[in-house]
């Protein structure tokens, strides 16, 4: 990763964090809100494959953890697993369709929220599974559909396709 790649990744992470912490956190339905930081990990896996997706997801999660009251490192763990999983699951897909990123984003966000709730419950976060998961799924999953296109575009700019090797990727499919 070059210095300019690192700068682009930092810019995208900071912009999405600012949008999440100021605007998206304020959109609350039943106590839940959209989760763009989780979506960053999904978009990274979709755009850049499992390897870089895991790294970017880890960074996004760790950054989100700095502002969350939940156990530190939990979002980082979910982020790297989600980035890796999304990269693996979408590796063979043809990325020409505009509707693919929203569908991937919705499915992966739902998986990520469930993973977060299960790991949170294991770590003693009371109510993560019992009361918080359903509102989070109802609000964050449709929101992921809406936010998928801009987030995938931003992550596509931050993580351009590598020129050679097995990690080469076909791009976002968004024109």
């Amino acid at each position: 990763m070059t210095a300019s790649d690192l700068a682009r990744c930092t810019i995208v992470l900071c912009v999405v964090l600012a949008v999440q912490n100021t605007l998206l956190d304020a959109i609350r339905v039943g106590g839940a809100h959209p989760d763009a930081m989780l979506l960053l990990a999904v978009a990274a896996g979709y755009v850049a494959g499992p390897d870089r997706g895991a790294g970017f997801g880890f960074a996004a999660g760790l950054l989100a953890d700095l502002f969350l009251p939940t156990t530190f490192g939990l979002s980082a763990l979910v982020g790297c697993l989600l980035g890796y999983g999304t990269g693996l699951a979408t590796r063979g897909l043809v990325r020409a369709s505009w509707w693919l990123p929203p569908i991937v984003a919705a499915g992966a966000t739902a998986v990520g929220l469930c993973l977060f709730a299960i790991l949170g419950a294991v770590l003693g976060e009371q109510g993560a599974l019992r009361t918080a998961l359903v509102p989070a799924l109802v609000v964050a999953t449709p929101a992921a559909v809406v936010l998928a296109t801009p987030v995938v575009r931003m992550v596509g700019w931050a993580l351009p396709p590598v020129s050679s090797g097995r990690g080469a990727h076909a791009g976002t499919g968004l024109r």
Binding site: L23, H33, A54, F67, L77, Y84
Partner: protein, 279 residues
């Protein structure tokens, strides 16, 4: 023959990242790196709070304008109600000092701290529920303003929650609706009965535990902080109103739900009580 560079193996990357995450989680969970993680969170919060305040300053008037346009009629009605309440309060104020003196004397006899005498720091809410899995708010005051972990936070007419983390210029408050929140309360004609109000998640009803079956309860009855020794809150702060209660012959306690007295969905300004919990 040209040799191609061997690509990095994704399994190694994910393995290292998972290991790093688990290490961080373990350090935080066991409290071994609590100081370092708190400092890191505090620095991040301080660095980010000007952005949060700036965006809030821009978006808040827009939100208020839109809310005003949509709820114009309702606001007029609320204004009329508030004017009536101001009249009632002015009336009560005239007879207030004598009553307050009497209550102060009684509390002094019981060695209870007097809630009205506790200094407070007024704060603005700059973020609501940053996590989908915890009911918390962020305030624009921190250690620099004398705010410390454990201090109670009140807003509107009742208890909002308790400070759980601070930075120099901001703090995080766990709301009483958070699933990890438990507040000791008292109720009844002589406020002698004790119970515990538990949160069940943001925007959800509170549950009240440890009430014996057959206890006389009333809908709308206000539960106040118990103020027992070692309690996390000073006494007599209104916490919740009973909304529903029932019991079955085989149950060992009443099934009681309650609603917070403070409107936790419409918090704008709150007071942080500079009352550190004992111990």
């Amino acid at each position: 023959m040209a040799r191609t560079r061997r690509p990095r193996r994704p399994r190694l990357t994910i393995g290292l990242l998972v290991l790093a995450s688990i290490t961080i989680i373990t350090l935080d969970y066991r409290g071994d790196a609590h100081g370092a993680i708190s400092s890191l969170k505090s620095a991040a919060s301080d660095a980010f709070s000007p952005v949060q305040r700036g965006v809030d300053a821009v978006t808040h008037p827009i939100g208020s304008f839109l809310a005003g346009a949509v709820h114009g009629g309702q606001l007029e009605e609320e204004n009329a109600k508030l004017r009536a309440e101001v009249g009632t309060l002015q009336q009560q104020q005239l007879s207030g000092p004598a009553t307050a003196n009497a209550l102060r004397s009684i509390d002094a006899l019981n060695h209870l701290p007097w809630t009205a005498g506790i200094p407070t720091v007024t704060a603005q809410v700059i973020a609501l529920n940053p996590s989908n899995f915890a009911a918390t708010i962020e305030l624009d005051v921190g250690r620099r303003s004398g705010v410390a972990v454990g201090m109670p936070v009140t807003g509107g007419a009742g208890l909002v929650g308790q400070v759980i983390a601070t930075s120099a210029s901001a703090c995080t408050v766990q709301l009483i609706t958070d699933a990890a929140s438990a507040v000791g309360v008292r109720f009844g004609p002589s406020s002698a009965a004790l119970a515990q109000v538990d949160g069940t998640g943001a925007g959800k009803a509170l549950t009240v535990a440890y009430i014996d079956p057959g206890t006389v309860l009333h809908k709308g009855e206000v539960l106040t902080t118990s103020g027992l020794s070692d309690a996390a809150f000073p006494p007599l702060i209104p916490v919740a109103r009973i909304t529903r209660y029932s019991s079955t012959p085989s149950s060992t306690e009443e099934s009681v739900t309650a609603a917070p007295v403070a409107d936790l969905e419409q918090l704008d300004y709150v007071d942080v009580m500079q009352w550190p919990p004992p111990g």
